[in-house]
């Protein structure tokens, strides 16, 4: 088959793939998908893995580069202790077996942004292995009910990042900047325990939460601080695994789901048509929302791993006996200093506030929401936790979406929120004005909600006499409705309530209005 012919056929399949993907409920398939993830997380450190140059994002070209990073002959690697500490921390969080002695290896390949011709990594004796992560799978609007999934971690290793090459196709050349060369990475290789796209995306989400709470990685995917490669294959249940493809270049958590989904569907369509899957590396093209084959995969790779002779084995102090050696990274000390992990937070929230699982997941997923929530709850308001959580999840998130900002960009302080809930609790405002307050608080973070309410005249009408007056007026103005209500169309009560609301710009205390109207009409 010549390349152009293959291109045409792929296009033909493309249509089917896209059609299938847009179907609301894809038909049951005889194929089972198997997904494995490899995640590269940049370790949050000041300096590089093996040299003293800085890791700051966006420094001027080739400025955060030491002679070692440029592979100048005669230079040697010296390991950054903090990288080891943070990797151990991550390994503990992922329930790994930590290797008391790990080693570094060289992985060879030629590429313009790999100046040494090899990458220092940990292939044979990585820092940790045999871990596992148990995480909730839940994407509002996509998955119906949350469930827990456990995926095994094959190994966790330290390695160097490569530089960056810009392909200037017009001038026919690559421009190489080595600022990123030697930046510390943790590579996390997960076992192919995942079955679909949402499980994959949720895993990355949970991992990012863990790494952020450990302060091991910024997890800014847009800066390349967290990179995900996905291996996808399809097979019939009970048969050996099928040929897999590897997807690179996945730039966000949503893209993880889209890319894996697309690739599963692509393979399904090809297999259904009797085609064979090529073992290849594909790239996720976020613009066209499809995976495309990368050019360089015709060539057979052999990385020729060998031990890095410039780095003797890395020993860790595993117990108190060896902890006296201050040179070594002390694992026990790290165990004692472990922060709370997302799952711990969910468990704690569940115990304290008895919230539904969906709520727990969303709260913990959005660090800012969780902060608001805990601070509001800590202020000992008499508001039910569920009300607070729902207001944050539904109303605040809706507001942010409408304003097209992320929750992190929301300028509202938690004190403002506390005041807001106080106002609601005191019935000074109702939900409608509470929602409107969000906008005001965001634009005026310095203002107290009570003040805004007063200025805007948003206070709820709670005066029973006033309410009675309003109701009486409403009854007077709607004789027909009242008549029909009295004939038994009790639902029409809400038409009257709506009328009062409208008259008062929604300021009337609706509970009181309902009560009063019922009282009036039934008498």
């Amino acid at each position: 088959m010549n390349p152009s012919c293959r291109f045409v056929i792929l296009n033909k399949f493309d249509k089917i793939i896209v059609r299938n993907l847009t179907k609301v409920a894809p038909k049951k398939s005889k194929w089972q998908s198997v997904v494995g993830l490899e995640v590269h997380a940049q370790i949050s450190t000041n300096s590089k893995l093996f040299s003293g140059s800085g890791c700051a994002f966006g420094s001027p070209l080739n400025s955060s580069v030491s002679l070692f990073d440029a592979a100048i002959p005669g230079t040697l690697p010296v390991l950054n202790k903090h990288c080891v500490e943070l990797a151990v921390k991550t390994a503990l969080a992922l329930n790994c077996e930590i290797n008391p002695v790990s080693m570094f290896d060289r992985k060879h390949y030629f590429y313009a942004d790999l100046p040494a011709g090899y990458q220092i990594t940990q292939q044979r004796a990585p820092l940790a292995r045999k871990g596992q992560i148990t995480y909730p799978v839940f994407t509002p609007g996509v998955t119906k009910k949350p469930y827990y999934k456990t995926v095994r971690l094959h190994q966790l290793q330290l390695e160097q990042d490569s530089g960056k090459s810009l392909h200037d196709d017009l001038a026919g050349r690559s421009l190489v900047d080595l600022n990123r060369a030697g930046v510390p990475l943790m590579e996390l290789v997960f076992e192919p325990d995942i079955e679909d796209a949402e499980e994959a995306a949720s895993l990355v989400k949970e991992l990012a939460l863990i790494l952020k709470s450990l302060e091991c990685c910024s997890c800014k995917m847009e800066e390349g601080a967290l990179r995900v490669d996905a291996n996808v294959s399809l097979h019939k249940p009970g048969t050996p695994l099928g040929t897999r493809t590897e997807i690179k270049n996945i730039g966000s958590i949503r893209n993880v789901a889209q890319a894996v989904n697309y690739e599963i569907e692509r393979q399904r369509v090809l297999l259904d048509a009797g085609e064979e899957i090529q073992n290849e590396t594909r790239s996720w093209d976020a613009a066209s929302k499809r995976t495309v084959a990368m050019r360089d995969k015709e060539v057979q790779q052999d990385y020729r791993f060998m031990p890095e002779p410039n780095l003797p084995p890395l020993h860790l102090a595993m117990d108190t006996a060896s902890a006296s050696n201050e040179e070594l990274v002390n694992v026990q000390a790290i165990v004692h200093a472990m922060p709370m992990l997302p799952e711990d937070k969910r468990k704690r929230l569940a115990e304290m506030y008895n919230l539904p699982q969906e709520t727990l997941i969303i709260l913990v997923n959005e660090e800012v929401l969780l902060d608001y929530f805990t601070q509001i709850m800590d202020s000992k308001l008499e508001v039910p936790p569920k009300t607070v959580a729902n207001f944050l999840i539904n109303d605040l998130l809706t507001f942010c979406n409408r304003e097209n900002i992320s929750v992190n960009e929301c300028k509202i302080s938690s004190n403002q929120f506390i005041d807001l809930f106080k106002l609601m609790q005191a019935q000074t405002i109702n939900l409608h004005y509470a929602r409107l307050l969000l906008n005001e608080m965001h634009s005026h973070p310095d203002k107290v909600p009570a003040q805004i309410t007063k200025e805007k005249n948003w206070e709820q009408i709670n005066d029973p006499e006033k309410i009675e007056e309003l109701c009486r007026e409403c009854v007077k103005n709607n004789p027909k409705v009242v008549e029909q209500f009295k004939k038994g169309k009790e639902k029409l009560l809400y038409a009257l309530v709506g009328d009062v609301a409208k008259k008062t710009d929604q300021r009337a205390n609706m509970a009181m209005v309902v009560e009063k109207l019922q009282q009036m009409l039934k008498s």
């Binding site: 140059s53 070209l61 080739n62 390991l79 810009l166 050349r173």
Partner: protein, 187 residues
């Protein structure tokens, strides 16, 4: 070469510190005294100084060096010797692509095959359950450094030895194009 004083047969640098007249521009002169005749006595003296005073044919004790030498390494090959390990053309192309150096002659191919055959000796050694040793410092725990920025900001030094640069970038031709390797035929 060390300058020798021709007449007194002494290495020049010794004369430097022993002969007072060898100061100043003396280094450019070839001898240390005005008398340019080589003195036989001096020559004899130097010869005597350098003569081995030890009789290497006589020993007092039974020697601990084994009398019969053991056979260890035989590199004598007949002229028509060809190494038995033949690198097939596919492997050769793979090696060239992984190494990015060319194997440009029959001699080079022979040298490669000879190297591989030489290494076969290792393959035949019985090693049992010995652990591999990649560094003699395996029991010296790796020393680490604190996480401080102590290096970098040396862009000029980094770019100094590059033949081609462009606005502080290194420059390479387009990537992702596999090298074409041809099948080798040496006759």
């Amino acid at each position: 070469m060390l300058r020798w004083c021709y007449p007194c047969v002494r290495p020049f640098r010794e004369i430097f510190v022993t002969h007072k007249q060898f100061t100043g521009k003396a280094a450019k002169r070839l001898f240390c005294s005005k008398d340019q005749q080589r003195s036989d006595t001096a020559l004899a003296q130097e010869l005597e100084r350098r003569r081995t005073k030890i009789d290497f044919t006589e020993i007092k004790y039974p020697t601990k060096v084994p009398e019969t030498p053991i056979s260890c390494i035989n590199l004598d090959k007949s002229p028509d010797y060809t190494p038995s390990q033949i690198v097939d053309s596919q492997t050769l192309q793979l090696l060239e692509r992984l190494s990015l150096v060319d194997l440009d002659s029959k001699e080079a191919l022979r040298a490669l095959e000879d190297s591989i055959e030489f290494a076969e000796k290792v393959v035949k050694i019985h090693t049992g359950c010995v652990r591999p040793m990649y560094t003699v410092l395996e029991n010296h725990p790796l020393k680490t450094r604190p996480d401080k920025v102590t290096d970098g900001n040396i862009k000029e030094d980094i770019l100094k030895n590059a033949s081609v640069t462009e606005e502080d970038y290194f420059v390479a031709p387009p990537g992702n194009i596999p090298l074409e390797t041809k099948e080798k035929k040496f006759d």
